[in-house]
Amino acid sequence: MSDYKNIILEYKDVPGGLIEAYHALQREFNYIPEDAIEAAADIFDISKARAYGVATFYSYFKVGPRGKYIIRICESAPCHVAGADKVVAALENELGIKMGDTTADGRFTLEFTECVGQCQATPVITINSKPYSDVNAQDIGSILNEYK
């Protein structure tokens, strides 16, 4: 709890600092711990409902644990027509989990995302925001090896 507090306190006097604080928490933990929402509500002097409402509004924030490496697969139209579904199948197959799930060792989480702005070479996936473009089903194994 004190850890969260120290991180959040740094943004207490920043105008509109709640979202900045959530970003900082995610940089540290990769997600926003439930308890940190309560701490944020206290520090910013807002209701827990409001603090929770902000955290859950944005798709890049996640309340509660997820994997160390977040793999996002773009499903927007340009990636869709470029065969994003085959990339999804290859990732699910390689990791043995379904979209939205985390591997048992807590290493990888699979999430869908909308456009990540790398449409010059579709389909695109990102791993902790690092983009990989022109991804084929065959590439998945070697990409994942970078993170094993």
């Binding site: 979202i19 900045e20 944005y58 927007s76 702005g117 449409c119 925001s129």
Partner: protein, 407 residues
Amino acid sequence: MSEEMRIVLRNYGKIDPFKIDDYIAAGGYKALARAREMKQTDLIEEVKKSGLRGRGGAGFNCGQKWNFSYSVAAETKYVVCNADEGEPGTYKDRIIMESDPHTVLEGMAICGYAIGSKKGYIYCRGEYPYVVEGLKTAISQAKDKGVLGDFDIEVRMGAGAYVCGEESALIESIEGHRGEPRFKPPFPPVKGLWGKPTIVNNVETFANIPVIVEKGSDWYNSIGAPNYPGTKVLTLTGDVVNRKFIEVPTDTSIRQVIFEFGGGIPEGKKLKAVQIGGTSGGFIPEEMLETPIDFDSMAAIGATLGSGAVFVIDATRDVVDIVNRIAGFFRHESCGKCTPCREGTKRIEEMVERINQGQGRAADLELLERLGSTMSKICLCGLGQAAPIPVLTTLTHFRDEYQSKLN
């Protein structure tokens, strides 16, 4: 063969984006110095006369917008750069910020002087953490050099919400709230960030400003289409040989964009349709390709220029399947504040999915049209108003594809 014209991207590949001296050597920050020698009203008039219209999609006259904020007497005013580009198929703002961040800062500082603001924010989408770092580097260089004078710029990072591209939702997000659009009026130029007059302009709009100040409104006004002068940065995606970005005068036709710059359709296939302006844009059939890309010409054919994304699909593609995916996008990105959008995007997806899976009924097509036209009139913000456009335009131009899938 048509040629590109690089105004916004004039420094692309020519300077090291992270060396402010490179930018200065290329003439950078001279326009800001010149602007500060002008009377504020003359500067605003010059921007107005250039005819520059917002490059984020709404196409409002930039100088006129600035004048709204200038005219309000207030101690504190804000300049906000909308770098939340989330329109699928669009990455032009990223290219601008990565290749020439200082031109964006200079454009913002000129706007700050014009309206009487000392503080700017860049709201950059959460998908671009590397761009955020680049912008922060550029800002600290500009501060060290003292080129921005008393104008301060701060970067804020979004967190994955398409609706935050809408200016009042973006303002809510900077304030640390859920990114839900506000009721308007009052509009942000009068009452925006923390209730103060606020100019929100797109990255590409700001990148045009230094050149306009440097070369003058007459020069700018003579480029491209008279009602939407200048250039537009476009990003080509989908079934096109050259998947790349280009910057072209606004009187360039869609056909030139796809076949001259884009190199046509791969594997000698035929074009079925092109969707311009991102996922919220209308689908345009082959027979309308002679239309110039400027804002008003596009509006006249029921399409949009929007963000400048150009998504090409060849004759083998399934329009209903693509629209189904797009409908899913809007259902996901609807913020839920207003009922017609929250419910409407869900029902559109439901119906299109049913049709796509061969379970649709003839009545669904009329229901989609009724729902879509209702949403375009009564949704609170541009997201909900534009959400039905892909469905409505494909029902107009490719109705047979829907009909052939009906149960």
